[in-house]
Symmetry: C2
Subunit: 319 residues, 2 copies
């Protein structure tokens, strides 16, 4: 895929010619009224509202080119933004992408990145409607996701009520386990290592939760306790998580945690980037969701089995 | 503004606390149904369509912190994206912003950047509806602009017809002149130097052009001839520009060009980033627009006074 031929670098091919290659032969979904190639794209928004979220990924900080292929990085960049749209109870319709890279980057790597983005976007039924390509000292990728609520009310973090149950869909701790395995150069555990590079958000479940009356929802990007903390703070409630209900997640990372020499609960409760969805419900959650706790009255905080958790509670950008 | 107190850096204050400061006390426009603080923002799109465009700005490549204040950089980042929305005949309603910076960046600089973004967004009647803040080796800013057509058809680059006149609103060559003055360390010419740091797109004129029946439009971001080249290619026409009509722009940069030792036409015809709007019209353009050329039949190209221009025709990202 990579090439040493300078003519096949971003600089050699040239910005506009690379963009031509990136956008050629892509099937835009019906939500895209006008795709790449003009000053701006135009999307249909029949609901009368648009959901929008943006994330930036920086090389070495959010991904490593010696761990991930460009295709993996493209998938992850789309997945983490799509998960934010899901977490509002909406459906991703389109993404716009800005990509910065050194001038000597092989054009084929940019194409592979775009292929990965398209692969993941299609899993959501969405497309890449536009973008920007610039020169930067290292890879930096910025994705903005746009979504449609199809008439639903957005599910914010602020609506959890005392007495609600708390439920999750998707996996917990796998991405953090994979990160630790990569970081400590431990082979095996291929599924966990893979999940760190390409998360699997439970596409469609955000809408299912909204339809089931979810009162508050978020995706697990910073870590279960940190993200539940956002719901607790926004809703003004206590959330109590029961570890009894999370045995499946602990079991899935237990052997890897032993190999790395850490407490598996650090990953299940503190590890982010799996992009599971966690929500509060007044009634039963949709099929496939696991009840993991309940909403209590009190000063906003998250408890684990009724007590404060003393481990690491999640990612912050400038740690 | 800057501080040596480590506690007042992005790392010292912490991601979430910095974000709290960035979003506090901002008046969101009525288009923003749900602003920052959740997984995604929600915007009203009464037109049933959303216009969307994205740009990335990288330190040293697109701005310099020794030339621009953070406030200037924030204004420019918003202005260049707002111009893309204008160029479709739409009105910017909201922006989402991703900002990457080193951990030791003073939090006050991030606030000043946000203040500049808000200042410029308000000039368009828009707000900053959401964002992301991450650690990066140098400043990198990614802005996505969203806009509403208010029932108009989008004005693409593809509709110019043989016999149309071509007109421009806004200034040409000033930003490139300013860049050359900064780059060559030439004092004076304060207005030109200022225009390089903070462009002045002609907000509202894109909608005026659409209402006047513009057949094709773009903003001058790469350079007049390069951007007219995009219209010529997309529309399948020849565009002939008359330098007689551009004397005002040449006069405005003439003394600076002499000081730098270049042909002022290089800046007027080749310099981008003023974010003027250029459009084709079957009838008269709106008040304030200057007729600068006409649309002819033939293999797509841009002519200057009926002949090929031999100077530099514009910016590419990996030059």
């Amino acid at each position: 895929m990579a090439t040493d031929d300078a003519a096949e670098t971003l600089a050699g091919v040239g910005e506009f010619a690379v963009i031509d290659r990136l956008v050629a032969d892509r099937d835009q979904p019906s939500a895209v009224a006008l795709g790449p190639g003009d000053d701006a794209a135009v999307l249909y928004t029949p609901d009368g509202k648009t959901v929008v979220s943006t994330d930036m990924l920086v090389a070495h900080r959010h991904f490593r080119l010696d761990w991930s292929t460009p295709h993996d990085i493209g998938r992850k960049a789309i997945a983490q933004n799509a998960a934010d749209i899901e977490a509002m109870g909406a459906r991703a319709t389109a993404f716009v992408v800005a990509f910065g890279a050194p001038a000597d980057t092989p054009a084929a790597q940019a194409l592979e990145l775009a292929d990965g983005m398209w692969h993941e976007a299609k899993l959501c039924g969405a497309g890449i409607a536009g973008g920007d390509l610039v020169s930067a000292p290292q890879w930096v990728i910025s994705v903005t996701a746009l979504g449609d609520l199809d008439g639903r009310r957005p599910v914010t973090r602020a609506g959890a009520q005392v007495g609600d149950i708390v439920a999750v869909v998707g996996t917990l701790g796998r991405s953090m386990a994979g990160y630790a395995l990569w970081h400590n150069d431990i082979d095996g555990f291929n599924e966990l290592r893979r999940r760190h590079l390409v998360p699997k958000p439970p596409y469609g479940q955000g809408r299912a939760a909204a339809d089931a009356g979810a009162t508050a929802m978020t995706d697990v990007s910073d870590g279960l306790l940190a993200d539940l903390g956002h719901i607790a703070a926004a809703s003004g409630v206590v959330i109590d998580v029961s570890t009894d209900t999370l045995g499946g997640d602990r079991d899935a990372v237990d052997a890897a945690a032993a190999a790395v020499g850490v407490d598996p609960w650090e990953w299940v409760l503190g590890g982010g980037e799996d992009h599971a969805l966690v929500a509060a419900f007044a009634a039963a959650p949709p099929e496939g969701w696991r009840v993991i706790g309940r909403v209590l009255e009190g000063a906003p905080q998250v408890l684990v089995d009724g007590a404060q958790w003393r481990g690491d509670t999640g990612w912050q950008s400038f740690d």
